[in-house]
Symmetry: C2
Subunit: 392 residues, 2 copies
């Protein structure tokens, strides 16, 4: 365990060195956990020479009990203004200081600029996210367990979905069983305004309802103040029911979608579903490390156009999302994004959710989703639940 | 409904005028919902002359269906760089532009500074939060319903808590029943790294375990990656069990804590509990609009010292939180904070949770919490569940 965390720090330290950054200040919960094994608030300073200082404002006693960072690197501080002296006394240079500028709020950033007034502040978000995109064997094991838990959720859904039941009743019971299985409850997203609960159960026209976020099929949700997931409406016969759920095992997420139907499905929707399912097979046969993320997306988009789903792929017309997958791990919105404009190449040990979906305005949506590990041989699914439509 | 939202906008417009701010750009989910009734991402511009422009990047179709903003104020944009022209064409000045600098990330802030390069950017966080602290009759009604739901959760806890049951089993079933009652699931916090699930069930020494966040009794949680709430450990006889839960009704929160015991409680803990309970009575008898928030806190602190709880009040020694209450509404961490250094006076129609707690290292914690509405006559509790220790 200690080796896992010290390798994360030393790898990142090398990245800092390569980029001429003296020290990184890690302040966001997920990143703090990733590098230290605990999340008490403060700043975890990682230097380009592999030294580390965890300056803790709140929760020192907790950090002491949990962290993988050596005790002589833990410091209680009253405020961030103590950081320059603390780093100086440790022999850490602060000419170029890295900050997670994608998550640190503007007012805190300005305060840091003031505290480090003779330093150049640079953004280290990409470097952190790029390292976190590639998973270690330790992380892959956690994600395997999350996927296994989530397969059980799909089996639960098979048992629970009935015509006449409210979407929220099914969702609540899936959540309940998942929690008893050890689901941590809260899952993290990184992007500004990014939010998610435990997953979505939605059906009929609600699955194709336009989302206010960057999500292809999000459902109506209980109320405009939380506009996604299950509504209070009832599941109907002969109409698609989407279960798009998360699992969270020790911080690591899995994300899986399956399609359920009470009765039978209109042929048009069935055809669209098998188009999505075939896209998973295509992914598994074709995608290898070295392919650009946007190339994968563009090929999916071409397939959708060719199949006549130009106005339905990844959402209804006017609400389509320009992606077909997203990296996943400690956060739901990690690199790589299998999306428009993502020019970087996919690398070995990246993990991502792949979720082709097709939506028909006023009717419903269909789709499937698994989380994948990219290996030398190709994309290997973590999730193992059978892929056909589940007729009830 | 439309009147509710247009009053929120016109009130805020007056604040902008008073502070010499030409236009506010509202971008955060909660604030977007508060002013528009929907959350599709983009920027809601409110001018000092009560004009409004909702520039939507994502989810225009959703916004159209849900928002209280007039249709001729809705615009589809591709990026924030279109904002200056859009505002100019509308006749809105942009010399001083307000931004939610407490939540907008640094990189987005720098982008906005670049887009509005001839404008002065100022922080409007406080103005928004101060307005939102005082609730309208519409909001008070929602908070009443949330409190009613939460009283049912306490009744559920009475039925569910048993010695030998795991904390997470009890928590999962409370969550399940709350969800079926219409709890929205996800609840919002505003502060950087602020996070919360549906509530906490913890017992014995775990209730006094040091928190890494600014929370007095948070529990160990399932894992260091999400270090609060229920653990997988079992509830024991003759040991305090804390149920500190949230309800969320149409975006509005309630927050309530009650103490349960299977068997009997050591006299020392029982005494500490009734000290906390008496503090609620004190609040209800003494606190009125016009009192400074920090004075309320300081008086509580004095009472705690006098009673011998100097090292136990609001957490164990070394992990004590310098507050005894927090504003609540659409977010869990609103104004007013009944806390150290909060010099402003409490005002009529403010709503806050008041949560005196006493913790004993290695033993357990006790405490009670209600949400209050401050009226001319004093603090009126929303939550009605009986206040004595619930012996099972």
């Amino acid at each position: 365990m200690k080796e896992e965390f010290s390798k994360r720090i030393s790898d990142f330290s090398k990245t800092l060195k390569q980029n001429g950054i003296d020290v990184a200040l890690i302040m966001q919960n997920t990143d703090l956990y990733y590098f230290s094994g605990t999340v008490p608030s403060g700043a975890l300073a990682i230097s380009d020479s592999n030294d580390v200082v965890y300056a803790i404002r709140r929760g020192f006693l907790r950090a002491e009990k949990e962290t993988a960072i050596p005790t002589d690197s833990l410091f209680q501080i009253k405020g961030l203004s103590q950081l320059p002296k603390l780093l100086h006394d440790r022999g850490i240079k602060i000419n170029r200081v890295g900050v997670e500028m994608d998550v640190v709020p503007a007012d805190m950033f300005l305060k840091l600029k003031d505290i480090f007034k003779d330093s150049e502040i640079v953004d280290i978000s990409f470097h952190i996210r790029w390292q976190r995109a590639k998973k270690s064997p330790y992380e892959i094991e956690k994600m395997q367990e999350a996927a296994r838990m989530l397969d059980c959720t799909m089996e639960d859904a098979k048992e629970l979905i009935r015509a006449g039941k409210r979407e929220i009743e099914v969702s609540a019971e899936l959540e309940f069983r998942a929690r008893k299985r050890g689901h941590q409850g809260r899952s993290r997203m990184r992007g500004f305004n990014g939010e998610v609960f435990m997953g979505h159960v939605h059906s009929g026209y609600r699955s194709a309802y336009p989302s206010g976020f960057l999500k292809p099929t999000a459902g109506i949700g209980p109320h405009p103040s939380y506009p996604e997931g299950a509504s209070f409406e009832k599941i109907e016969e002969n109409s698609p029911v989407i279960v798009d759920f998360l699992a969270n095992y020790q911080g690591y997420l899995s994300d899986e979608t399956r399609l359920f139907v009470v009765g039978s499905l209109p042929k048009e929707l069935e055809k669209a579903y098998y188009f999505c399912k075939d896209m998973l097979t295509w992914l598994e046969e074709v995608v290898k490390p070295g392919m650009a993320a946007e190339d994968v997306y563009n090929q999916c988009l071409s397939m959708a156009k060719k199949a006549g789903y130009e106005d339905n792929f990844m959402g209804i017309k006017g609400n389509q999302t320009p992606f077909v997958g997203h990296g996943i791990g400690l956060e739901l919105d990690e690199f790589p994004f299998i999306a428009k404009g993502q020019k970087y190449a996919l690398e070995e040990n990246m993990t991502f959710a792949f979720e082709p979906k097709v939506a028909f305005d006023g009717v419903g949506a269909v789709g499937i989703e698994n989380v994948y590990l990219l290996t030398k041989e190709g994309a290997k699914p973590f999730n193992r639940y059978p892929r056909d439509i589940i007729y009830l």
